[in-house]
Amino acid sequence: MSDWKTICAVADIPVLGARRVQRAQGPQVALFRTVDDQVFALLDRCPHKAGPLSQGIVFGKAVACPLHNWTIALDSGCAREPDEGATPTFTVRVEEGQVLLNQHELDTIAIELQPVKAGPCARAC
């Protein structure tokens, strides 16, 4: 199907780790691999303060945000209690060891979100 885009091999993602997917526009997408080789894709932004989830520690079917330790479920994108909030999810297909994402979703989901700014430039504005 033309709507599906091959991103990388499952083997390219470290076990209990993540890779970032650069989109044509909008914030990046994070691909996660669990210990039993399931692959999940979330917007690379914690619903709390936009931390890059791809950089967190992956355990079970969840990831801990590297900034303030919110735990986000990989399958639903929802934050675990007592936190509330959700990160948009992307549909993943794995075929013959390759990870595929839906091009339509890549083009449309959460495109407008701006990255967080830090540094002197951000302070000045």
Binding site: C8, P14, F59, P66, V116
Partner: protein, 808 residues
């Protein structure tokens, strides 16, 4: 697969908490049936006193409504008392004939009030104080009658008396002992308590032995008669003279009972391994606990065994007491009476109504009894539980935690004085009101639960002491009997020390081996335990254990410090804070080339490049060509120095060279937490060595060594450790101390807390007194560090996954 059958007899706090723990870890293992003798769902018995006093309602103290049982698929039999256990057919039978088969049986029948065997005990108007029905009977009596007599001046009796008084009755407390609450207070504190309760309107008869209860012609009690013949009027008599574990059911089934149903550390009865018991009916190592927190601990352990994990042992609890009578502050814990072989520190101001007694034995706090001013109760309790040596703070012990020289917000014993809107947890913006509300409404008892429900104390942890105090003030003393040891996280019941010992004893060298051997509850841990396990593995078995990069925090995986916008900061290592024009030029060029937005000189004499994109990290490292500063790691960070004798007209020693030597000897050293050193060339101490993990100060005759200081959340001045003559000695002693900390410190425990936990004397014994041991430690550290790669350049050897820097 067919589910096994679990039957719980007793719908109280201990039994239902065990089910909750079980459902969390093994939701599908059992078909569960619960028998409760009372007609109510599970409620918070501790809060009956506030209900009696009119501060809460019965509805507010329900812990699990009926809908909860339904949602969990639990068959609930309310108002049915189990009268028989058929161990052959594995079946329980209730009074009305209801039967239930079991594969596992949990007996949590609690306890009954002890009813004095005196004539008239069966009269109308004579009740115990145990359940909702008793409470309602008392509330109702208070609307009709005037005189109440409470027999028993213990915790429960006084709470009952206070409640009845608040409801308008004239209450006399009759107590056999010479002072009130003699199991929790000494005579001084008991006397202060009596006076204060008398001022509120309660009457007391101490040393009074009840002989009979006298009834009127309708069969209702009208007076209490004592041994000396004296009588006092009574329309209501509340027996609160103690509790007896409910063991009849178990005993009738042939299960061994003495002070309670005898259970092992796994909460199994010693008679029948299919039958478990938790709560007030159980006797563990000869103790039947009457407070809630130990029961919850038992429940947790019991659940792991019911879930067939076969792990977790209950090893007993330390308990403390607080009276739930609004406006009366008393606290006691441990061996507060003192006596032979112990020393007491006493502060008494009867006029102000303040009395404090601390009991010390073998240089440890073993008991505390506080009246009138209890703000430091939780701190004393912590010292007591942890068995911390108190020699170094002994002179200030009595004056509380706020007087031991901290400026952070952890130590301020101010929970009671805070307004509801005051912020407690700065990390998550949680105020006192929110925390207290959650504790009350959700029935929270432990720090862990408060963290889960409110997020308070869940991040940096510096407000933990304050949250513990709030728990104590809000939930009462019942909360505070927290276990002697704390599990690392929810994935295990083992403490940091348990895991560390097991890794060493069992020679475990990989995470999988840890999960399997130690029965981890989760398949691959969580973000709390994995970094700790990984550290314990590599520090226990250097060059043998498998380092797992995915179990390190992102800073150590990317070898740079993540910032709020997801960019990174890069801090090159500058030995002893010295640099050169060449290095500065390369840094400046890299800043231009990679458009690094901020260049900042840090507090530790280094240059921080902030705002580097992850994809640029590898090239920035390469271009600046300096070693990694490990400014992101739980490792040696800086060695701060002054210019010393090389330049300074006051300097007595070459502190810069000493700093460089120390840094070169110990860089790349992973540790339980970040480590900072400082070296000053003279006692003016320009490098501020007094608040570092190791501080070295040059003096005419050599060097002074200070350890376990901290400039962090809670500033701590370092302890003077020893005086040394040569630079070689400084290296050896510092290295040996670091290796001891690496081996004994718990993950994320700074040296100040490590030394506080094990005691300065222990460290002195290992480093100063044991010469061979010190040399061995220093050699061990050198072995561990030999050949350790620089992660900024030796990517393969340092297991840096270069894929992470590129997007796909």
């Amino acid at each position: 697969m067919k589910k096994m059958k679990l039957v719980l007899v007793g719908n109280g706090m201990a039994g239902v908490r065990t089910l909750e723990e079980l459902l969390k870890i093994a939701p599908d293992l059992y078909d569960i049936t619960v028998f409760g003798a009372e007609p109510h769902p599970n409620y918070n018995r501790i809060l009956l006193s506030p209900v009696l006093a009119g501060e809460q309602t019965v509805d507010e103290i329900i812990l699990n409504p009926l809908s909860w049982y339904e949602e969990q698929g639990i068959t609930l039999h309310l108002g049915k008392q189990v009268t028989q256990i058929d161990r052959i057919k594995r079946r329980v039978i209730a009074e009305d004939g209801t039967e239930a088969d079991y594969d596992r049986l949990l007996i949590a029948t609690g306890s009954s009030p002890f009813i004095l065997p005196v004539p008239g005990k069966d009269l109308d108007g004579v009740i115990a104080y145990r359940d909702i029905a008793d409470t309602n009977a008392m509330i109702e009596a208070a609307t009709k009658y005037r005189h109440a007599v409470v027999i028993g001046g213990g915790l429960l009796g006084l709470e009952a008396a206070n409640g009845l008084m608040l409801r308008g009755m004239q209450v006399t407390v009759v107590h056999l002992g010479d002072w009130l609450m003699e199991r929790q207070l000494d005579d001084h504190a008991g006397e202060l308590l009596r006076k204060s309760l008398e001022q509120r309107g309660l009457r007391f008869l101490l040393g009074a032995q009840t002989q009979a209860l006298i009834g009127d012609k309708d069969g209702r009690v009208m007076a209490v008669q004592f041994k000396d013949g004296k009588e006092i009027p009574a329309d209501l008599v509340v027996m609160a003279a103690g509790i007896r574990p409910n063991t009849e059911l178990a005993a009738s089934a042939g299960i061994h009972c003495n002070r309670g149903i005898v259970v092992s550390d796994t909460m199994q009865t010693t008679t029948d391994p299919r039958i478990y018991s938790v709560g007030e009916c159980a006797a563990h190592r000869g103790i039947a606990y009457g407070l809630v927190a130990p029961l919850f601990e038992q429940g947790k352990v019991c659940a792991t065994h019911l879930a067939e994990f076969g792990i977790g042992r209950y090893q007993g609890s330390q308990t403390s007491t607080k009276l739930k009578v609004t406006g009366i502050d008393l606290f006691s814990a441990g061996d507060f009476m003192g006596g032979e072989g112990s020393e007491e520190i006493v502060m008494s101001d009867p006029f102000a109504g303040v009395y404090k007694k601390l009991v010390i034995k073998n240089d440890q706090l073993v008991g505390a009894c506080l009246y009138g001013d209890t703000v430091d109760g939780s701190w004393y309790f912590k010292l007591l539980r942890e068995g911390r040596k108190v020699a170094d703070i002994r002179d200030k012990l009595m004056f509380g935690e706020s007087n031991i020289g901290d400026v952070g917000h952890q130590g301020h014993s101010k929970a009671a004085a805070m307004a509801d809107s005051d912020e407690v947890c700065g990390c998550n913006g949680v105020n006192k009101g929110t925390i207290c509300k959650a504790i009350k409404e959700k029935g929270l008892f432990t720090l862990e639960e408060v963290r889960k429900h409110t997020k308070a104390s869940a991040s940096c942890g510096s407000c933990t002491g304050l949250v513990e105090q709030l728990l104590m003030f809000t939930a009462g003393g019942d909360y505070s009997a927290t276990p002697k040891k704390k599990a690392i996280c929810a994935c295990t019941d083992m403490s940091h020390q348990d895991v560390r010992d097991a890794i060493f004893a069992e020679h475990l060298t990989s995470l999988d081996a840890v999960y399997q051997t130690l029965g981890w509850k989760t398949p691959n841990g969580c973000a709390s335990c994995r970094p700790a396990l990984n550290y314990y593995l590599i520090s226990s078995w250097p060059k043998e254990a498998q380092d797992d990069p995915q179990s390190r925090f992102i800073n150590e995986r990317a070898h740079a410090n993540i910032q709020k916008d997801g960019s990174y900061s890069v801090i090159p290592r500058m030995w002893g804070g010295e640099t050169t024009a060449d290095e500065l030029r390369r840094i400046a060029d890299a800043v231009d080339k990679y458009q690094i937005p901020t260049v900042k000189v840090t507090g530790g004499q280094r240059i921080d490049l902030l705002g580097v994109k992850k994809e640029d990290l590898v090239n920035v490292w390469k271009d600046i060509g300096m070693p990694s500063g490990h400014a992101y790691a739980k490792a040696l960070r800086t060695v701060k120095t002054c210019v010393g004798s090389e330049w300074c007209r006051m300097g007595t020693q070459d502190s810069t060279q000493m700093g460089k030597d120390l840094e070169r000897a110990m860089w790349r050293m992973y540790a339980p937490h970040k480590v900072k050193f400082a070296v000053s060339g003279c006692p003016r101490n320009c490098a501020e060595a007094g608040i570092k993990d190791v501080g070295i100060i040059g003096v005419d005759s050599g060097w002074e060594m200070y350890i376990a200081g901290n400039g962090g959340i809670k500033t701590e001045v370092a302890h003077f450790f020893t005086k040394l003559k040569t630079a070689e000695e400084v290296l050896e002693y510092t290295g040996a101390f670091m290796q001891l900390y690496r081996k004994e410190g718990w993950y994320l425990e700074r040296t100040v807390h490590y030394v506080g936990r094990v005691g300065l004397d222990h460290v002195k014994a290992r480093i100063l007194d044991d010469h061979a041991g010190r040399k061995a430690l220093w050699a061990e550290l050198q072995f561990a560090l030999d050949g350790e790669p620089d992660p900024w350049f030796d990517f393969d050897q340092a297991k840096v996954d270069l894929r992470q820097f590129e997007a796909v």
